[in-house]
Symmetry: D2
Subunit: 388 residues, 4 copies
């Protein structure tokens, strides 16, 4: 029931699992939290199983259900295609949607290969000339505390950068009863913790620092190599073809040293994305398990009263907070999708390309490819090709 004078923006979503549910919450909520120039309408959701997609449409609040993503793209009431499928289908859907004249939001990682990501970026570039918008869903950029971190870095508050260290740790892979789900198969998922978690932290390290990685040195590992086949008989197992974990180091353009770690076997760490930046004038630290907090050390203060201060990123003048609650009333994980929707809707209305672009997604893909190459070559430092 959006305001009658606000023009609608028809959204069609492909996929309705975890990411689809999270995106739906963003689309349903964004106009309730923010004043927007366009009113998102949850026009249709798409999935292969007719009964399941119909149930998902009802549950998540989509007006219609489709079983063929080409039909979804073709709908007149869909102006924006939101892609929430596994990575192996991103390129085909995104390129088709862009060629059909639609705006596109694509979940991360942008694609499973650099080649796909390049084709998508080219399609986005061409579409951009026709006034279309394409965005990749690195939603953590829009955690308020991390948006505040970016603002402090951009304002020069931490000075010359020395270090970025990031880890993203989960532990669901430690469950030995876990079957061989799609996330553990290379042909579906592209890679394991690296593509899933590593894509996030590579993007964040570059986004927060405002610099690109010039090269990386990496090791990867699959600790649990056999898993029960879903639907298989007792003792029937299949081979895990993706990594469980990766450690890598890198260099940013300024020469700053970086260290990275991702794992699905870090017992007790449920969704712990930690990032710290150290600069000549200050430092920033963040932990996704406490996502309303940013720690800031101002190194220009007298030493006797300096220290990491815990900023609750819930003040009215913090990024994205104008739509929410009074100070101290914290937000959650899903709010990042509302914020993403806000920025994307405004960008579409204004005709301005929002970040992160498909080119940004491609660049992350190139870093991931360099990581895999380094891991295969005894961790040797491997340059990340620059955008042409």
């Amino acid at each position: 029931m959006p305001h009658s004078t606000t023009p609608p923006l028809g959204v069609g979503m492909v996929g309705y699992a975890f990411m689809g549910a999270a995106h739906s919450q963003g689309w349903r909520t964004v106009a309730r939290a923010y004043d927007l120039p366009l009113s998102p309408v949850l026009a249709a959701v798409c999935g292969r199983d007719p009964g399941a997609v119909r149930a998902a449409a009802d549950k998540l609040g989509w007006a219609a259900a489709e079983t063929d993503w080409r039909a979804l793209i073709a709908r007149d009431d869909v102006s924006l295609v939101d892609i929430c499928t596994p990575g192996d289908s991103h390129a085909e859907i995104a390129i088709a949607a862009l060629e059909a004249g639609k705006h596109v939001l694509c979940e991360k990682p942008l694609a499973n290969t650099v080649a796909e990501a390049e084709a998508m970026t080219e399609a986005a570039r061409a579409a951009s000339e026709r006034g279309q918008i394409a965005m990749v869903g690195f939603n953590y950029r829009r955690v308020p505390a991390l948006a505040l971190a970016r603002r402090l870095v951009a304002d020069g508050r931490i000075g010359t950068l020395r270090h970025v260290r990031v880890s993203y740790l989960q532990d669901w892979g430690e469950d030995s009863d876990l079957p061989l789900v799609w996330r553990l198969q290379k042909e579906k998922a592209g890679s394991g913790a690296l593509g899933d978690l590593g894509a996030h932290i590579v993007d964040l390290a570059q986004h927060l620092s405002g610099e690109l990685l010039t090269g990386v040195s990496a090791q990867t590992e699959t600790f649990i190599t056999e898993r029960a086949l879903p639907g298989g008989g007792p003792g029937e197992t299949g081979r895990v073809t993706v990594d469980d974990a990766a450690v890598f180091t890198g260099r940013l353009a300024s020469g700053a040293l970086t260290s990275f770690e991702v794992s699905r076997l870090a017992a007790g760490r449920k969704n712990q994305l930690r990032i710290e930046l150290n600069g000549s004038d200050g430092s920033l630290a963040f932990d996704l398990e406490r996502l309303n907090e940013l720690e800031f050390h101002d190194h220009t203060l007298p030493g006797a009263e300096a220290g990491f201060r815990r900023i609750l990123a819930t003040e009215p003048d913090h990024p994205y907070l104008e739509g929410w609650w009074p100070p101290g009333h914290g937000l959650g994980y899903e709010h990042t999708f509302t914020h993403q929707a806000r920025d994307l809707v405004r960008a579409i209305a204004e005709g301005v390309q929002p970040e992160p672009t498909f080119a940004d997604g491609l660049q992350v893909q190139r870093v991931l490819a360099a990581i895999e190459e380094s891991a295969e070559k005894n961790a040797v430092f491997t340059p990340v090709p620059a955008a042409e």
Copy 2:
């Protein structure tokens, strides 16, 4: 667009400020997160200013707007009246709604006086015999970490209770430019930090412990006694007629010692509700500024490996989590309203009175009255009258 086979539950809300926005988010979201026997429909919202309430209806997603709460109650498409106004109007609206055969959800505190709360409780009792449901909105009971805390206490995990200590600290009152808003006027707000914050922590202390307070000893204070009149000329001020802060101690039925503190002038504490329970077999600690975490000390473990453990209350088998995200993907403040809506909708469908009842709200009011009486009588220990 809820599933067609689920019967609707028409909701009418009175008030659309902070609480109204939060409740709206709960109503809009609940059927998306949970499978419900009834589908909440945001039928109408009510406020006195026609233009403002119309805008609020559009913004918050309500189908219709009303300017007279009596008209809202009279609507056929409204089965549940959700009261989000200041405390001075709770009794009149709630009683009228109950008498009109509607279910009622009333924001806390239940009323501004014990007499009003008693009348409301009597009306709820009578309505209950007609199958109507009434509930008071102590939403913090439905923070997952606190619901987990209640479960651990009920399961005997902390043994015999010794202590409950609770503080609820904010700092917006420290702003000397803040004008004399309604929350600072006794005739509107009933009391200050005591009714606003104290009601929450009295309810929580009793709910988590499973015991009632038998008496209290209290001191209150108004630190900033004059504030600028809203709309007044330069230098025109009015008298603050409510408390800024209160400290009080009490006894639970078992003899456990309790300590409480509320303040609006605790610089740097934005919305810090801390609660700790110590028992013979364990302890629990919680901080609302980190609402996804519960700290649990199991005192039955060997001392050499015991300690407060930080449970991220985001596991699938934690209370309310079945509707949300994978482990470690935290929730926010507003989710408490979704959880409240879930439990209320299910209770209405099942015809079972949910907690907290109006009688629970009345009991909290009696504690608050005893606190005020004690504060007037030199902090002397003042019994809380038992429910008759």
Copy 3:
């Protein structure tokens, strides 16, 4: 082996249990950490059991052992008498030592009764006119982080005080096998958690705020009322005659509200002294279980970048740190006794009375007496008599 040109200061210590061991470590270490005008010499230690005191002297590093404290006081090589006995003997020993012309350091609480504390204070006053020094051992004043807190308050960094809240929680009393030790007997210990832990936090609240308490309202409780008699037969128990826990509220001279809690039955809290001060311009928070850290919120900073900052009180310009290690190399509990020794030795050399004085100790005793009186009188607000 102190530097030959530094005059010695002969110390005689009475008592060699926990406090005696801690004071010994302070005396042995102080000249190694700081440059002092006098060199403390561990001349003699005193206890009733000849074998035990001789062993303690060897273990703790005292040159001689005495079995009669009067003999210790009479020794020519003892200029300073350090009293580490239970509270019931403080007055007699301290007064005798002062009358014998010795300087005195007396462990807290100064005495078990106000009358004793008054007599001691009078003796100290008289001795002061003869150039003697008397000091009471509230050692937590000399935790560097708390000395820094005092400095920040004195410098006006937190503005007008609103609140002080302090709790001191331990859990050794929760052990049901614990026998009826002297600390649980009123005639030895004077009181329970109140005198042992409460004395510390009353002193700290007043010291850090720079204000005195004008009155208090209190409740106390003994949860475990019978304990096995030490050396008794199976099932033989005796009555616990002191409190296990106390909650109390108070007022400081400025009108600031205070809340206090002490307990020996707070499962999982080993030695947790927490203190927080809120003022119009800032707040301070401290936890003794993390004693190298002080949290400081500067409320005069822009809200978007304010927050509690964790100051590691280990910088060279932090109080007492000039004698220790590089930044970040933390100190422990026992260092407070070294710092106390430093200040006392310097005060003796300079002939200047150090804080806390016996009069300070007496004032704390008056607060404790008012707490006990209030607890007997239904928690009614009970004034603390002012010093005449």
Copy 4:
């Protein structure tokens, strides 16, 4: 004044700066905290400047002062030589001391080169056959919380190891006024953060896991390449010849992935050594800035009540705690030297070689050499030679 019946152990210390002061505190204190079979006597300290070493002897409590370390070694009253000099002199002094029949404690890193470390290890091996003891001072092994961590790993409490991540961050190098001190010169210090901080964390990672590193991949950096010459004129600078920071990854024998980072330019991190181990059954986490705490996640507990628990490593049955204070009364940095002294004295009395041995120190040196080699070879994975 140790107990007359305990035989003495004469200690001679070379060097009296930071490490010398810390070791002195350990030697002075150890017999006061623990019952020992030998009584350490602080016989003599050695340094080149006669006045300065005499003053240090007085200040730190050593009976005699020497200006030639050969003279110190030759003293009859010196049975144990404690080497606290910069790394370039370790080999010469240690070998001479061992050849002279003395026991040796050598500060870490064992040496500046692998060749030196090999010679020292050979000398220690030969001396060992004559009943002499040699130990290298990786004092952090003796932080009680880390000794507890080792115990838990050894007891199988974390299961099969997946990850070790360690960082050791300081920020004193960020001070642009810092002159070119010896720690910044390769010929004195051997390396920078790598040798100073990296030696600690390589040793800890191996010690806690109970495994050796099989290879490493590394990057190093010197961010501030020119510093003022000490005693030089305005603008006179010299070249910094050691690293400011290093990031490296590695493999343990079991295949567990490791990540490491050291820096002297991590603004706000004063002495932050963080280590975390993840295994199939649990995880451990530690931060040297909170050295009394160990975090332990028991992954075998039900998920709904699992979480990292904060164990205060101050219980009587925690390692080294029998000598100290009641629970919750924390220790500090310097206590590690007392613990080291305790274990060394007992080992000498019992004639049993204590850990870490010189061979352990040599192995760390080989890892550091492999790190430097990898850093020169584009971070390629470089094997650590096994001990022959």
